[in-house]
Symmetry: D2
């Protein structure tokens, strides 16, 4: 990625995305997705999600998403800001996946204009709990959306990990399953700051250049964002990095569950693990310098571990060994946290 930046640095170039690196990126993504696409590189996942949703949801409408969705839990109201006040309606579902039943139940409520109107559904792929929607699951949700006149957005901050896990094509995981807009993120997958909003129906993108510009997300030196993307796309680097992170997560999971008192709150489908272990052991791990978040799950409080594009086998094995050490240190488990 850095080498690509250095390349993009050579010579003069047109500003604001009218450069050859950016137009090449559009062609590359159209090829990758096997479909006409409108592509808008931006620099944060929050911007990608909020801008994408603003093109799908009018200010008085509601966006339906899972209770744990990143857009609801960790973007400080960015969707409300960019849409001009649309509401996030929080629905349920296992492991962060929106259930079709919850979606249908919500769609049944309506009293125009008092209640407002639902306009869009947003899914996280992979979810905040590390689960992955299959193309069939997305298609089922998309069918409900079509029936209700709702647009379907996917927050793909971990799209790479999901596609790598599914073994399907990017097309199957997106427009072939009825996705209208995708926030395609590569920052978590190794880039410095590379996210793009991708529309599969250019009509939805008609005013997007205005939206992006007034949000302060039109980079004058767009080529530096585009170049990161391009570098990730070449030779499927993005998929290989994601597959590697997934493999490391599986490896870590296999090793950790063999330790006494350790369980997984969710199956490991991508590169996230939610590990239930005795709190004193978690604390001991932290005191040895490991950094992780605590996470509430239906089966109790967990530590959330995320493997990355650059996680090595040694890292996994060392973390396993250190965890084993911590568990031994604290003695036989009394009560799990």
């Amino acid at each position: 990625v850095l080498a690509a930046l250095a390349d993009a640095n050579g010579g003069a170039a047109a500003a604001y995305g009218d450069d050859t690196v950016t137009s090449r990126l559009e062609a590359s993504l159209a090829a990758l997705f096997e479909h006409e696409v409108a592509v808008f590189p931006v620099a944060t996942g929050t911007a990608a999600n909020a801008l994408a949703l603003s093109a799908l949801a009018p200010p008085w409408s509601a966006i339906l998403c899972h209770r744990e969705a990143h857009i609801a839990a960790a973007e400080c109201g960015a969707p409300e800001f960019f849409t001009g006040g649309a509401r996030l309606v929080l629905l349920e579902g296992e492991a962060g996946k929106l259930s079709a039943a919850a979606l249908e139940a919500e769609c049944a409520h309506t009293l125009r204009p008092h209640r407002g109107a639902a306009s869009a559904v947003s899914l996280s792929q992979a979810t905040e709990a590390g689960a992955v929607y299959t193309p069939a699951e997305i298609a089922a949700l998309s069918e409900i959306c079509r029936g209700q006149g709702l647009k379907l957005h996917v927050d793909g901050a971990r799209f790479a990990n999901a596609v790598a896990a599914l073994g399907c094509s990017p097309a199957e995981a997106s427009w072939k399953s009825g996705v209208d807009a995708l926030s395609f993120g590569l920052t978590k997958n190794g880039a410095m700051a590379a996210e793009a909003v991708i529309f599969f129906d250019p009509a939805l993108a008609r005013d997007f250049d205005y939206r992006r510009k007034r949000g302060g997300h039109l980079f004058s030196k767009m080529r530096f964002v585009s170049a990161q993307f391009q570098a990730m796309l070449e030779d499927d680097l993005w998929l290989r990095l994601a597959a590697h992170a997934n493999a490391m997560a599986r490896r870590l999971a296999e090793r950790l569950v063999k330790l006494p008192g350790v369980r997984l709150a969710y199956p490991v489908e991508s590169n996230q693990l939610f590990v239930s272990l005795p709190e004193p052991a978690a604390a001991a791990l932290e005191s040895r310098g490991f950094l992780f978040h605590r996470w509430e799950t239906p089966s109790g409080r967990c530590v959330r571990l995320v493997t990355a594009f650059d996680t090595r086998r040694e890292d996994v094995d060392r973390l396993t060994a250190e965890t084993a050490g911590c568990l031994q240190e604290i003695g036989p488990p009394g009560r799990n946290l």
Copy 2:
């Protein structure tokens, strides 16, 4: 009220609220509430709520309210619009009353700046299920608010019915219990269009004239709104009308529950009844010309009946008789709706 309008119609008057009717209203409300107040008449309850909340909640913050609150269920995103994107976080509680436990649990979540910040709590008094908060209950919620730096708003579209039911003073039901801002509505209580936002701390109202003007809620002929208010306040007309509506609701409840197959989903504390009766009976009532909404409650689907300032004893007795007729018509109850 109409007579007061005719009075206000006589002669010329200063525009935009700088008239004697309006300043007299401010004095009257200060006397009624036994406290300095900043008063802003507006013409709809939605405007009163959304404008009041916009003075308490910055755009990136969250307003905590009950899942069934009118601001959440029936104002088409007005709070989001007037605040510039604040989020409504929906909490639980019985009969539309926000529980202190739910409030405390929500306040425990925070991760600045990712999650945003809670800024205000909004209660409906009486609630959408017809329940009434006691001053002690409000004070308990208000204490949590103070501890968390949250402002406390009351949606008082039915404040009159609540005060009449409690038998306490307007002061006890508001600032003495820790309320910062009150949407005081008299439209449901007999006026044509008379709502006011009342702040008990004038500092909160500092920019409110700008907010109201840009929301299109500064009437050039403000005296016509103020005059309605004034007429309602004289000789406690507002309280007498509300007490009457409450009494009619109790009368109706007492009579209806004696009918076979009829139950109440909630105790009748103000002027609303949620009546569970066999669906064919409800349909038969409708076909006889009665108008009401269906309502989901924890004990099943109900019909919602609201008594008004002008409901007469005969109306109550006639509805009781017609309901009895409908029940007879449909025969012995099979399954309740």
Copy 3:
């Protein structure tokens, strides 16, 4: 108007505009304008203008209007608020009338997306300087709008005075001249609070009920606003009142200009006069209890006088006499203000 309110007060009625008074109003206005209309009663002119513009102008766009337009000078940012941030671009023209040349010059600027995009033009009819656009003038501006893809809005707070002055039909002053949306105001013309947004292309009104509701401008007892309108429309009361106000303005102008040292800054075309007279005389008039605003005009500071639906000949003659008295009192004019 009050009698109509008392009528509307009788009996029960459906809420939120689904009442017979309101639907009758829609039919009346369609007949008046000789065209299909979508009608939305609201209670202030600011709300009518800002809501109408929000349906025509996306948030990133610009609304072109005269530098002195009410929406720019006296609505505290309501257009920006309701549109979600659209910009007012202020153009020049004589007596408050937007000049075609200024409009064309502005339309020449464009650099997508950096500069944003113009989306709408708003005219005041009559203008803030009391001038009236002829249908031909509106049609000329509208032709430029069509060429640029701009919508045309008319702020008709004084539409009645303009139509009365022109002697044309409401249709000729609106859709026949290319107007897309009209804020039709009767508050200044005698109603208590009666304004309506009228769209001549229902497609523009598609989401308007959401916009109005979330702006807090959907009255639960809509019939009281509709009834005022209806009363004004019957027997052309609105036009007769406006014609009367215009006649009183002409009468006052004819008399005042005969006084020494008194001139008019603008021709009197509707019910407003901008009177240049020595400042000491203006001050003397004020000390005798007359209320008026000072106004900056190209020919210097003036006092602005507005005749009303209820101005009587005696009022005009008395004001003339008092002005003459004041002028005499201060002696021969030195310098005009």
Copy 4:
């Protein structure tokens, strides 16, 4: 800069700005400005300006700036978006500099709440016409601001060029002259994407982390933005690059004005030149591959030339020679464009 990025790339780091590179940057900027600062790196100048203004200007207020200011002419409504609808009021002044007289005249208008309220002034340093405010000029404007309760913002996309031209300290060009907030941009000066909002009064920055996050401008890998800044600050690289660009502009100006038919529309104070030359010569230059914008100035249409941190003497000399060639090619000047 690229080397700094490579450095920042090594090892793991805390996300969202809680990293050592970013905290080091805050210390560096405090030292550079000789004052406590609150620093918020963002990635575009538009974001820096609009976010800074949102902290100074409430939604119903006006921001006063020069008619040609970048925030008014080229940011697609971003200030309106981030402030929630504040209005840009466009004032006059020579060479893009806001005149004190124009500022004072505007401040005289006020009619609360109808007109809204001015809240902030924004200056471009250097201006869009290449002019530079002296510290004394800023201080004079700032004094008017203080008297009116207005905050003072500086759009410093070319702050480096201005400081290099003035030969003063960054402190003298900012807080010592009364500046409250500065958009400090280094992108135009050689970085890839490095802009920062700097507040000299931390109280103004109290909620800024929320504003930035919800605008999608909180980078998870903030260190890559901070690192660019840090690299630019070391050994005054930012000032040396800017001084070089300025010198190249002066060199170019000196050479061009010697050519027949070539004039400068504005004095060259920073790194921009507005060159009046016969249009056929401009067209000929373009056909030889030079890229530049046409620009309207009071003395007619010009071509705008901007020298950069990496402009070489040879580039200047070659452009001069080519311009001379073009002028010769088209023969003796008829009329200047």
